[in-house]
Each structure stands twice: as structure tokens, then as C-alpha cells.
């Protein structure tokens, strides 16, 4: 696995929060801070590796039990605090290896922990908080569903260090009985299989791909540029419905997710049709 996991997340968390010290009292694997963006407060959250984490299967940047419930707590805090005031943006900086793979995690129901974090992010979005995911490194399957994938808008860097996918290459190749090379070749012609973020962008799920000269070491200028892009995404989110329909409305989505759009249209027609025949 790449050694990127976690280093980019930490670097961009520090850069974007202007080195505001992360909140205390949480596991070391979750960085949370309130910092200003566009003149107003926003909450930044990031999952990072903690080699001394209590749960042995969650020490390399995986999203485990403690990470998921800490994220859920810190996001719900924002919902409660802003119940009667302006809704603060919530920015998930995403550089996660995956979810934690462990017997302890399954016994203690990591499926619910992950759902609790996704519930918090999704509920914040439905309550009117702009939720922005900034993918600076890896965003794999359960880890991304837990931390980031309920966002109104998703931004991602466009370099090779960024990978958004449902499963690690080796595991996906094995399960679909292919070689890794074959999987990569298929990814060139079948966009949903590709590990290249530029192909991922063709699915229409991203709000914007960002070019950053040095994604490992954010410079002052680049940080300001990314902060402006976040602000633009926040404003865009504030002026549109709070659900995820934007993932179906871009030109890319209209092209690559044609089957989704056709299915939804046909289902609605039949749902509305009163005269539908009952199932004998």
C-alpha cells in the first residue's frame, strides 16, 4: 500500500486550518478544528493514522470504531450548536486507507459505527450545513462511505496520489478473478472500474478536480487557492437542494450514468401510473 495514507491528510488539515490546534479529548486518529473560511467559521475533520491506536487493526489510517464515533460526535456537535444560527460548513478532508478489517470491529458492530458517522454527515447536510469532501489522498470503500461520501460537493486533487475506489486493486482483481494488469486495462475502457481519479471524474460524482503543484507539501499560495475552491463549493451547495441530485446533473453524469437516469425516469412513470396492473 502506498505510504501516502495520512501524511497528506495531516498536511492539508494543518494548512487549511492555519495551524489551529486540533480539539483535545479525542483519539489521536481524528483531527478536528474550527477555522475560518471566507470570513466565517467552518469545522474541518480528518482521519489520520495513529500507530499507537488501541485497536490493532486501525493503526494505519483505517476508519475504525473510535474514528467513526468520534466523527459522528464532532459533526453532531455542529448540528446542535448551530440549530438556531447560521449553518457552519463542514469540511471532511479525506485520506483514508479504508475501513478497519478486524474481528473486534465486527464483533462491536463497525457497520453501525460507520452508519453513525454517515448519519451525522448526511443529517448535517439535510439540516442545511454545506458538507464538502476534499479528497487529498485515498478514499476507499467503507472508509469513504463513513467519512466524506455524504457530502453535498466532492472536490479531489487530480494527481496519481489520489485514488477513489470501491476496493483495493489486489483484492478486486482476486475477487473478479483477473490479474491486476487486466483490471487496470479494463479501467481504461470501463470508467467505473478505473483507479485513475481523472476517470472517476467522468462518472460525474465530483464537483471539481483541482490541480495542485505539490500535493504532499501545501504551499501558502496553493493553500489559498484550495481554500477559495472550497468557498466556491460551499456557496454552490448553499444555493441548491440539500440532497445528492447534483451527482446526476453534470454533463459527465448525463453521459456515464445514463442507465441510472433512465431507470429513475421509468420507475417514476410507473410509480405514478395509477392504472398499473397488480401482480397476479
Amino acid at each position: 500500500m502506498s505510504d501516502y495514507t495520512g501524511t497528506r491528510g495531516t498536511a492539508w488539515f494543518r494548512a487549511l486550518t492555519g495551524n489551529v490546534p486540533p480539539m483535545t479529548g479525542d483519539p489521536r486518529s481524528v483531527l478536528t478544528a474550527d477555522a475560518s473560511i471566507g470570513g466565517g467559521p467552518a469545522r474541518f475533520l480528518c482521519v489520520v493514522p495513529d500507530p499507537r491506536a488501541g485497536f490493532p487493526c486501525a493503526r494505519h489510517g483505517e476508519v475504525g470504531l473510535e474514528e467513526a464515533y468520534t466523527l459522528a460526535t464532532r459533526v453532531r456537535e455542529v448540528i446542535d450548536e448551530d440549530r438556531n444560527t447560521a449553518k457552519r460548513p463542514i469540511i471532511a478532508i479525506v485520506d483514508v486507507k479504508s475501513q478497519a478489517y478486524g474481528r473486534r470491529e465486527e464483533t462491536a458492530a463497525i457497520f453501525l459505527a460507520a452508519a453513525a458517522a454517515a448519519d451525522a454527515y448526511g443529517s448535517a447536510r439535510l439540516a442545511g450545513h454545506p458538507v464538502i469532501a476534499l479528497v487529498v489522498g485515498h478514499a476507499f470503500s467503507g472508509g469513504f462511505l463513513t467519512h466524506g461520501y455524504q457530502a453535498n460537493r466532492i472536490l479531489a486533487f487530480d494527481d496519481d496520489g489520489v485514488m477513489i475506489h470501491a476496493m483495493h486493486k489486489e483484492a478486486a482483481a482476486r475477487i473478479t478473478r483477473r490479474s491486476v494488469e487486466n483490471l487496470e486495462k479494463l479501467g481504461k475502457t470501463i470508467p467505473p472500474l478505473s483507479y485513475d481519479v481523472r476517470d472517476f471524474a467522468k462518472l460525474g460524482l465530483l464537483h471539481k478536480l483541482l490541480h495542485v503543484e505539490n500535493p504532499d507539501h501545501p504551499s501558502e499560495i496553493e493553500t489559498r487557492k484550495v481554500r477559495d475552491e472550497l468557498l466556491a463549493a460551499i456557496e454552490d451547495a448553499r444555493h441548491s437542494p440539500w440532497d445528492l441530485r447534483n451527482r446526476l446533473e453534470s454533463n459527465e453524469a448525463r453521459d456515464t450514468r445514463r442507465a441510472t437516469l433512465r431507470t429513475r425516469a421509468l420507475l417514476e412513470i410507473q410509480w405514478r401510473a395509477e392504472a398499473g396492473q397488480t401482480v397476479s
Binding site: 465486527e106 467505473p192 472500474l193
Partner: protein, 304 residues
């Protein structure tokens, strides 16, 4: 010692597990009210499978039926575990998301429409990887939206069970109904053995698998709301109870303080003992109220 009544009940019950997705969905509705939407004759299939030499299915392994349950509008979305392991592709995912969205639109307009999800699925369909993952994120968002107005009930009956990203969809539901045969978890044993080694999880140890992921364990630790036999009547009865009960005051996935304290109380330096966890977590205090459908075999104590 089972009584004559039990034997008769056992002989006469219709196994839910042996039913295909379409039969399962239809069995849950009030008679003559079920109507399938985007069914097999509409031929809305996966556009991606044929490109990889995999034969698509004319309903993409997902059955959507609308009708009435206990006289109330409801939609049932059933994943066919026998097709690609019930995995979520672009089309099957879109059918589930659209059904949840339309139920929410009707519910917002006053026609409260509950959703029942029959989840026999390994999660993302890897031949459609990123569109499957995206569909799961959208299903989760649709559940969060609908459950404010009408209950979303996940049923995991087996034998495929509910794994991967779809276990998060179950986790977001208003209620979870399981059988003993069913399993529910984020990562299957094979994936854990592969990622973290056989010492972490021996995928061939079936007793261990059910001790952790099995319906009885999930129910006994307050993570499922009803445990029923593999009996179509009992599955239907549990669903009807939850539809009548309606939206819970607090959803399980929103009880962050409760579950965060439970995790902090664990000793992560050793494997957790599932039996011990039943004592610590117990079914009783789950806010959604653990209820059991009538007719559970004698051994199961009744929960108020």
C-alpha cells in the same frame, strides 16, 4: 421438548429463505395490492456486465414492488442474492434509490409510504465498482431523508446476509429484522482473513462467524430489532408491527453518545467475547425497543 403445536407450525411454515427475491417481496404485501415497477419485461439491465463477458439479468437482480402492507402504502425493494451475490450495480442501485426517493416525495405530500429493504447482498458489485459504491452512498442518503417521514425496515433473512456498504444502509434503517440463519456485518470473514490474517479471523470457523455476525447475536446485543424464524408469516408479522409502530423517536445510528461509551468501555487489547457483549450491551435498552414477532420458538424469551 417441542409440543405438537410446534411440530405442526414447523411443518406448515413457508421458508422465507427458500423464496426468490420476487416471491419474498410479493409475500409481504396485502393480497392483490402488489405491483412490480421496472420489472423483468422492461429489460432495464446493467450496461457494464456485457462488456466484461458477464450475462446481465433483465431486472439487474433488484425487485421493486409497490402496494399496501396493513392497509398502508409501502414499497419493498428486494435484492436477488442468487444474481451476482446480490451485489449493487448501477441499475439495481438506481432502482433502490429511486424507490426510496419516490416514497419520500409521497410521504412529504402526506401519503406516508414505508420502505422495506430485503438485503441479501455482499455490497458493491465489483464489475461496476465505483458506480456501485456511488449508488450505495445515494441509497444511504435516501434512507436518511425518507426515515424522517416513514419507517425504513431492513430485513436480513439469509443465506447471503448483508455485508459491505449495504450493511451501512441497514445500520441507518429504522428497524432491522433478522433470522438466526442471517448474518450482518461490514466485512465478511474472507475479507478480514485476507486483509488482517487468519489469526484475526479464520474464515472457515463457522461457529465463530455466526457467533459474531449471526442474527441471534445481533439481536441479543441490541443491534437488530426482531429475531424471527425462517417463516414467511413471522417475517411479515414483524414488518407489519414496525410499519404500524412508525418512525422511532430516535434512530439507532443517531445514538452516538450511547454507542461511543460502549466502545470506550471495551478492552481492545484482546478479542472481544461475543457472549460477554450480550451481557454488557443487552437487547433491552436499545431505544428502538427490541420487539420480537409472535411465534418465536419456545426457547426465546419474550421481550416487552
Amino acid at each position: 421438548m417441542s409440543t405438537a403445536r410446534d411440530d405442526l407450525a414447523f411443518v406448515n411454515r413457508q421458508s422465507f429463505i427458500e423464496l426468490q427475491a420476487r416471491e419474498r417481496a410479493k409475500a409481504l404485501f396485502d393480497a392483490e395490492t402488489a405491483r412490480e415497477l421496472v420489472g423483468p419485461f422492461d429489460r432495464v439491465e446493467s450496461p457494464w456486465l456485457p462488456l466484461q463477458g458477464v450475462t446481465p439479468q433483465s431486472d439487474d437482480g433488484c425487485v421493486v414492488m409497490k402496494g399496501k402492507i396493513s392497509g398502508r402504502p409501502a414499497v419493498v425493494v428486494a435484492l436477488e442474492g442468487a444474481f451476482q451475490g446480490g451485489s449493487l450495480g448501477e441499475v439495481s442501485g438506481a432502482k433502490m434509490t429511486a424507490a426510496l426517493d419516490l416514497a419520500r416525495v409521497d410521504s412529504e405530500r402526506g401519503a406516508s409510504t414505508a420502505a422495506v429493504l430485503l438485503l441479501e447482498t455482499g455490497g458493491v458489485r465489483l464489475q461496476e465498482a465505483n458506480l456501485g459504491l456511488a449508488a450505495i452512498a445515494e441509497i444511504m442518503a435516501a434512507i436518511l431523508d425518507l426515515r424522517r417521514y416513514a419507517p425504513v425496515i431492513s430485513v436480513v433473512a439469509g443465506t447471503v446476509g448483508c455485508f459491505g456498504g449495504m450493511s451501512l444502509a441497514a445500520g441507518l434503517s429504522s428497524y432491522i429484522v433478522m433470522t438466526r440463519e442471517a448474518r450482518l456485518g461490514l466485512n465478511g470473514p474472507e475479507v478480514i482473513e485476507q486483509e488482517s490474517g487468519i489469526d484475526e479471523f479464520d474464515a472457515s470457523d463457522r461457529a465463530l462467524i455466526w457467533a459474531i455476525h449471526g442474527g441471534e447475536q445481533r439481536y441479543a446485543t441490541g443491534l437488530a430489532d426482531a429475531l424471527v424464524d425462517d417463516d414467511t408469516q413471522q417475517v411479515g408479522a414483524a414488518i407489519r408491527k414496525f410499519i404500524v409502530k412508525g418512525v422511532p423517536t430516535v434512530h439507532r445510528s443517531s445514538q452516538v453518545a450511547l454507542y461511543r461509551k460502549r466502545i470506550e468501555a471495551l478492552d481492545p487489547t484482546r478479542q472481544l467475547d461475543p457472549k460477554e457483549l450480550r451481557v454488557q450491551w443487552g437487547a433491552a435498552d436499545s431505544a428502538a425497543g427490541g420487539i420480537s414477532a409472535g411465534g418465536i420458538s419456545a426457547g426465546e424469551e419474550e421481550r416487552s
